[in-house]
Subunit: 765 residues, 2 copies
C-alpha cells in the first residue's frame, strides 16, 4: 500500500503541477514529468530538464547599489530537451495529441518502489484508429547520466503505418513569466547551442551557458527493430528529428527505447562528446530490463533503510513515501551540488541552495542515508573559501560567512535584510557537521573537514560579536523569522553560535586525540592557537541568550517584546501570507513571526533552556506566528509533541505531508517544496518519536497520536541501522544487519540494543 | 569685495566642475555653464539644461522585489540644448575651438551682484587672425522662462568675413556613466523630439518624455544687425542652425543676442508653441540692457535682504555669497517644484527632493526670503495626497508618509532601510511648517495649509507608534544617521514626532481662534475629533525619549549603546567615506554615525533636554561620527557654538562654505551640494549668532570667533526684516523698512527693536 502515486484521469488544468509531482531525478539529473507528445499551443507548461548545479551567471539589478551587494547571481539552467516523441497513425499520419481524437483510457503512475513512471493511454484517432500507448520513464540511480524513455505501442483495431518522430532539441530556455517579478523575461535564454551532430545514429547536442561558459552535452541513442529510420535536422539546426516508420500489425506490440546520456563540463572530461558517447557505449551492455531491474534493487535498498510506516492513515503514508522519494531524487551527490529549495523538480528559487539543506533535509538523510548526508556536508566544505572571501567582503577580519543562497558558492541574495543578514546559516552548517559527528562518531570526518569548518565559522562569530556588559553579544543579524530583520542578539543566532564555538574547541580536541600530528599540522595551516580556542570557549561561556523574566521566555531579540503585537485574528484571511500584502518595514515593526525562530532553537538545542522556558516560549510564539513559511508547522509539531500536546502536534503535522501532492500552496508547478517534504518526516522522527541526536547518542521520547495504531521507521546511529516501531504500549528497537550493540536513550533511560535482539521499552500511560 | 567668482586661466581639467559652478538658474530653469562653442570630441562634459520638476518616469529594477517597493522613479530630464554657438573666422572659415589656434587671454566671471556670467576670450586663429569674444549669459529672475546669451565679437587684427552658427538642438539625453551604477546607460535617452519648426526667424523645438508624457518646448529668437541670415535644419531634423555672416571691420564690435524661452506642459497652456511665442513677443519690449538691468535690481534687493558679511576672511566671504546665490538660483517657486539635492546645477540624485529642503535649505530662505520659504511648504502640501496614499500602501490605517526622495510626490527610493524607513521626513516637513509660523505668525497659512498637514503627519505617528510600558514608542524606523538603520525609538524621530503631535493640536487651536467657522469645516472634512486631538496630546506627553543614565546622554535608539564602537582612529584614511568600503550591514552593527542625528535633534529642539544632556551627547557622538555626509559638520559647528566651544565651532565650519568652489568632495561636476551650501549659512546664523526660531520669537546667543573682526547678516522675524551685526563687544540689531517694533531675545533676555532705532546688546566676556 502507498507505493504508487496514480492519476487515472486526464485533468488538463493539473498537468503543470503534475510535471513537478511526476518528475524523475537522481541528484544529478532531473526531468520534469512533461508529456512526450507535448501540449497544444499556449498550454501552460514548464518543460524542463536540469543538471544539478549547472548554471549561468546573471546580473542582479539594483535601484541603489551599495557596497558589498552581489553583482551577479547564479541561475540553474534548463538543458537540452530530449523528452519529445510524436506519434502518427495510419497512412493519413494522424497525429496523436491531447486536442485530437479521443482519450478512451488514461493513467499515470509514479512507482516509488521501482523508481520510474508509467503513463498509459488508450487513444482513438479522429478517423477511428485506436492505439494503446505506454511511456515508461526512468532517470537512473545507478547510471548517473542516464534518462530513458521506453515507448510501447499496440494498434488496437487497425494494421498499417505507424510513425514515431523522436526529437532532441537544443533550442531551450528557462521558464519566464512577466507576471512573476523574480523571473525577468530577458534572462530566460542563457544556454546557446554550439554543436549538433549525428554519428552512426546517435544524436549529439552541445550548448554553452552565456556567462558562466559551462557546457553541457547529451547523446541520444534509440533502440528499436523492424522500423525504417531517417534522421532530419530542423530548419534552424536547433534539433534533430529521428523518424521511425513501422508497418504495424493489429494487436502486435511495437517498442522504441530512447536513452539519453547527459554530461557537463563541471564533472566530465573536456571533450563532452567523447564523454557522453563513452557512457552510451558502456550502457549498451545493459538491456532495458536490466536497467529497470537495477533501479528496482536500488529502491528496495533505499526503502529498507528509509521507509517510514504509519498504520491507519493511507493518505499520510502515501505522502510520506512520496516525499522521501523526491528527496532522494533531488539530493546532490558530489562536491558541486547540494539539494536546492525545489530539488530538481522545477526552477523555483533558481536552483539555489539555502539553509533548508542543513536544518530540514540533512537530518532526514543523516538518519536514513548517512552517506548522502555526508555528501551535503562536503559540498559546503567545497565552498568554504568562498565563504571566507565573503566574510572579508562583508568587512570581517576573519571567519567564514556562508552565502544565504547560492549554487557555486557565491552569495546570490540581493535583498540582504532577509538574505545575507541571516548569518545563522553559518552556524546551521556547523550544527549539521556536529550532528553528523554525533550520529556517526566519524572522527576522520572531523580531521578531513569538520575541525576546519567549525574553526572558520567560529571565527566569524568572534568577529561579528563582541563582549559587553551582557556577555558576548551578536548585533545586527536576521534570524530565521523573516518577518523580523536586522536585530541584536537574536536568540536563535546566539545559541547556535554558542554551539558552534563550543564544538570548534571540542572537535579540535577529539580530532587531536585521534591524530595529534595531523591536527597540529592543521592548526598550523589555520594559524589556530590555544589562545584563540580559549577565546572561543570564553565567548561561548558568556554568550548572551536573552531571557525575559516577566513571560519566562527567550525573547526573539533584544527589543522584540517591546514591539506592538500584530493582530493575527483581526487580519482577514486574504491578507496571508503577509509578505505578499505588507511592506517588510511594516512587518518588522510588529511581534509577528513568519516561522519558528526561538522555537526552532529550542528544538535544535533543547538542553540550553529548562523545560518551563521552552514551554512558555512555545506558547508565546505560537500566538504570534502565521506559518507563512512552509518551514514552520513541522517545527511547531515537533515541539508540541515534546511538550506532550499530541493533539497540537497532530494539528501542525496536518496536511504538510501532502502539501505538494495536493498542491496546498498553489505553486507546486514551480517545483516541490523540499524542506517541507523533509519536515513531514522530521515531525515523525523528532516529533512523535522524540528523536534527538546528541553527543552521547540517540535519544527517543516516543509518543503515539490517537489517530494511528502504530508507526515504524529506520534510523542510523553509531554507524548502525536501527529499525524502530512505536505502538501505544511500547517502543520496539532492533538492529538491522549489525554485529555490535548500539546504545540509545528512551525517555531518559539508557539502553543497549544488541544484534539479533529486539529491545522493547514499555511506555508509561 | 567677494561679489565676483573669477577664473582667469583656462584649465581644461576643471571645466566639467566649472559647468556646475557657473550654472545659471532661476528656480524654474537651470543651464549649466557649458561652453557655447562646445569641447573637442571625447572631452568630459555634462551638457545640460533643466526645468525644475520636468521629469520622466523610469523603472526601478530589483533582484528581489517585495511588497510596497516602488515600481518606478522620476528622473529630471535634460531638455533642449540652446547653448551652442560656433564662430568661424575669415574666408577660410577657421573654427574657433579650444583645440585650435591659441587662447591669448581668458577670463570667466560669475557676477553674484548682477546675476549673470561673462566669459571673455582673446583668441588667435591658426592663420593668425585675432578675435575678442565675449559671452554674457543670464537666466532671468524676472522672466521665468528666459535664457539669454549675448555674444560680442571684435576682430582685433583683421577685417573680413565672420560667421556665427547658433543652434538649438532637440537631440538631447541625460548624462550616463556606465561606471556609476546609479546611472543606467539605457535610461539616458528619455526625451523624444516631436516638433521642430521655423517661423519668421524663430526656431521652435518640442519634445515629449517617454513615459511621463510631459512635454517641453523652446522658442529661440536672435537679435543682431548687419548680418546675412540663413537657417538650416540638420540632416536628421533634430536641430536648427542659424547662420549669421558679417563683413566685419577691424576693431568694430559686432553682437548677436540669442534669447530662448522654455515652456513645459506642467505649467503652461496646452499649446506650448503658442505659449512660448507669446512670451517671446512680450520680451520684445525689453532691450538686452533692460533685461540685464532688471536682473541687477533683483539681485540688489536679494542681497539687501540676504547678504551675510564676515570681516576678516575673504575666501569665506566669497564662499558664503556664492552659496546663497546658487540657493537662490535653485529654489523652486511653484507647487510643482522644490529644491533638489543638486539644485538645478546638475543631474546628481536625478533632481530629487529630500529632507535637505526642510532641515537645511528652508531655514535659510525662512530667514532671508520668507516668500520663497513659503513656496517650499506649499510644494509639500501639493503632494500631501501622495503621502497619504503612500502611508496606506505601507500598511498604515491613516496619516501621511512623505516620500524620502521624489519629484512628483511618489516615493523614488529603492533602498528602503536608508530611504522609506526614514519616516522622520514627515516630522521634518511638519517642523518646517511650525518654524514658518514661528517666524511669520501667519495664521492664514495655518488655516490654508498648516493644520491639515500637521494633523495628517501627526496621524502617521499615532499609527506607526504605540503605547507600551516605556510610554509612546516608535519602532522600526531609520533616523537621519544612515550608518544605523531600522531601529526602535530613534531619539531624533521620537522627539520630532512629539513636536509634530504637540503642534497639530496647537495649530488647530490657534487657527480656531482666528476663524472658528473655517476650522470647524476643516475638522469635519478631515474627520478630526476632539478625541483624536486628545490622543495626539497623550502620545506627545508620554513620548518615549531614550536617556542613558550612565553617560547622561540620549542614546540614538534603544540598542545603540550596546553595540561595539567603530574604531575611527584605527581606520585608514582611504576607507572613508565608510559607505563606499563597507557593507551597510557591517556599518549598522557598530556605534558609528555618518552624520549628526541626536545632535541634530538637540539643535532643532533644544528645549527638550537640559544643557548637560546636550553637552554630554555632543561629546559622545562627536567621537563616533565620521561626517561622511556633507550634512554633518555644519550641525556640529552649530552645536559647538551653543556649547561655547568656538574653536570647535570654527573647526567644523572649516572649509564647508567652499566645498564646491574648491571641489573638496571631488564630485562637483554632478552638481552643487545645496544642503551644504545652506549649512554654511546656518552655521553662522544658528551657530555663531545662536539664532533659534521659537514660538515666542527669535532668540540670539551671539558669539564671535577669534578669526573674525565682526560679521553681519539679515533675518526676518514677525514679518519684519532685521539687520544684525555681531562684534566682539556687542550685537547690533536694526529694523529695515519697518514701521512697528519687533521683539527678540538675546542671551535669554527680552528686547524690543523699534523702527528707526538701533538696539545694541553688549556681550559679556
Amino acid at each position: 500500500m502507498g507505493w504508487h502515486i496514480k492519476r487515472n484521469r486526464l485533468r488538463v488544468e493539473e498537468l503543470i503541477n503534475e510535471e513537478s509531482l511526476f518528475f524523475l531525478g537522481n541528484g544529478y539529473l532531473g526531468v520534469r514529468g512533461n508529456f512526450e507528445e507535448g501540449y497544444p499551443e499556449g498550454f501552460p507548461t514548464i518543460r524542463g530538464t536540469y543538471i544539478n548545479a549547472f548554471h549561468d551567471i546573471i546580473d542582479i539589478p539594483y535601484g541603489e547599489k551599495l557596497y558589498g551587494f552581489p553583482d551577479t547571481q547564479q541561475k540553474m539552467l534548463n538543458v537540452h530537451d530530449t523528452q519529445s516523441i510524436q506519434i502518427y497513425v495510419g497512412e493519413e499520419e494522424e497525429l496523436y495529441a491531447l486536442d485530437q481524437g479521443q482519450v478512451l483510457d488514461y493513467s499515470r503512475k509514479l512507482l516509488l518502489d521501482e523508481g520510474c513512471t508509467i503513463r498509459e493511454i488508450h487513444w482513438k484517432s479522429p478517423l477511428g484508429k485506436e492505439l494503446n500507448i505506454r511511456f515508461e520513464r526512468l532517470v537512473s540511480f545507478v547510471h548517473r547520466e542516464l534518462f530513458m524513455i521506453k515507448l510501447n505501442l499496440i494498434p488496437v483495431n487497425f494494421s498499417g503505418k505507424l510513425k514515431v518522430v523522436s526529437s532532441i532539441n537544443g533550442d531551450v530556455e528557462n521558464y519566464a513569466n512577466k507576471e512573476d517579478p523574480r523571473v525577468a523575461a530577458g534572462e530566460a535564454k542563457r544556454l546557446h547551442l554550439s554543436k549538433l551532430l549525428l554519428n552512426e545514429g546517435d544524436g549529439y547536442i552541445e550548448s554553452q551557458a552565456e556567462v558562466s561558459r559551462l557546457r553541457t552535452g547529451c547523446v541520444t541513442r534509440h533502440y528499436t527493430d523492424s522500423a525504417d529510420v531517417t534522421v532530419l535536422e530542423d530548419d534552424h539546426s536547433k534539433q534533430l528529428l529521428f523518424n521511425y516508420v513501422w508497418d504495424a500489425e493489429k494487436s502486435v506490440p511495437l517498442s522504441l527505447t530512447k536513452r539519453t546520456v547527459f554530461v557537463d563540463s563541471l564533472r566530465h572530461e573536456e571533450d563532452l562528446y567523447e564523454a557522453a558517447i563513452g557512457l552510451q557505449h558502456s550502457l549498451d551492455e545493459w538491456s532495458d530490463d536490466e536497467i529497470f531491474h537495477e533501479q528496482r534493487e536500488y529502491m528496495q535498498k533505499f526503502w529498507q533503510h528509509g521507509d517510514v510506516r504509519v498504520s491507519g492513515d493511507h493518505r499520510l503514508q502515501e505522502g510520506l513515501r512520496f516525499n522521501l522519494f523526491h528527496l532522494l531524487q533531488s539530493v546532490g551527490r558530489d562536491s558541486y551540488s547540494n539539494i536546492s529549495a525545489k530539488g530538481l523538480s522545477g526552477e523555483g528559487y533558481e536552483g539555489h541552495y539555502f539553509w533548508d539543506t542543513e536544518i530540514y533535509m540533512f537530518p532526514v538523510f543523516l538518519m536514513i542515508a548517512p552517506d548522502l548526508a555526508k555528501r551535503l556536508l562536503i559540498y559546503r566544505y567545497s565552498i568554504l573559501n568562498h565563504a571566507k572571501d565573503r566574510a572579508v567582503e562583508m568587512g570581517h577580519q576573519q571567519g567564514a560567512l556562508f552565502p544565504w543562497r547560492t549554487i557555486s558558492g557565491k552569495e546570490c541574495s540581493s535583498y540582504f535584510p532577509a538574505g545575507t543578514a541571516q548569518y545563522h546559516i553559518s552556524a546551521d552548517i556547523a550544527y549539521s557537521y556536529i550532528q553528523y559527528y554525533h550520529a556517526t562518531g566519524d572522527t576522520d570526518f572531523l580531521l578531513d573537514y569538520g575541525v576546519e569548518l567549525l574553526v572558520e565559522t567560529a571565527r566569524l562569530w568572534m568577529d561579528v560579536g563582541h563582549f559587553n556588559k551582557n556577555g558576548f553579544s551578536i548585533d545586527n543579524v536576521t534570524g530565521p523569522d523573516e518577518y523580523t530583520a536586522i536585530v541584536n542578539n537574536n536568540y536563535y543566532t546566539n545559541v547556535m553560535a554558542k554551539h558552534n564555538l563550543v564544538w570548534a574547541v571540542k572537535a579540535y580536541r577529539i580530532a587531536r586525540k585521534r591524530d595529534s600530528k595531523r591536527v597540529t599540522d592543521l592548526a598550523e595551516s589555520l594559524s589556530l592557537t590555544k589562545e584563540e580556542l580559549e577565546q572561543f570557549k570564553q565567548a561561548a561561556a558568556v554568550m548572551y541568550l536573552p531571557y525575559d523574566k516577566q513571560f519566562g521566555i527567550n525573547p526573539q531579540d533584544d527589543t522584540f517584546l517591546n514591539k506592538a503585537v500584530w493582530d493575527i485574528g483581526g487580519t482577514s484571511a486574504d491578507q496571508f501570507p503577509l509578505l505578499l500584502h505588507y511592506h517588510p518595514l511594516t512587518l518588522y515593526r510588529y511581534q509577528v513571526c513568519k516561522q519558528a525562530d526561538t522555537v526552532l532553537a529550542h528544538f535544535l538545542l533543547e538542553d540550553e533552556q529548562d523545560f518551563d522556558t521552552i514551554r512558555n516560549s512555545y506558547n508565546y510564539y505560537e500566538n504570534i506566528t502565521t506559518h507563512d513559511s512552509s518551514l514552520s508547522t513541522c517545527v511547531f509539531s515537533i515541539m508540541a509533541a515534546k511538550l506532550g500536546d499530541l493533539e497540537k502536534a497532530f494539528y501542525y503535522f496536518g496536511d504538510s505531508a501532502r502539501l505538494d501532492l495536493d498542491n496546498l500552496h498553489g505553486n507546486t508547478k514551480d517545483g516541490l517544496h523540499m524542506a517541507n517534504m523533509a519536515g513531514s518526516f522530521m515531525a515523525i522522527l523528532f516529533g512523535f518519536a522524540g528523536l534527538r541526536v546528541k553527543e552521547n547518542g540517540l535519544h527517543f521520547s516516543p509518543k503515539l497520536p490517537d489517530q494511528w495504531s502504530d508507526y515504524s521507521f529506520h534510523v542510523h546511529g553509531q554507524g548502525q541501522l536501527i529499525s524502530a516501531c512505536v505502538t501505544s504500549q511500547y517502543m520496539r528497537l532492533k538492529l538491522v544487519d549489525a554485529d555490535c550493540p548500539v546504545e540509545v536513550h528512551v525517555n531518559g533511560l539508557h539502553y543497549k540494543i544488541k544484534p539479533d535482539e529486539t529491545l522493547k521499552v514499555f511506555l508509561a500511560d
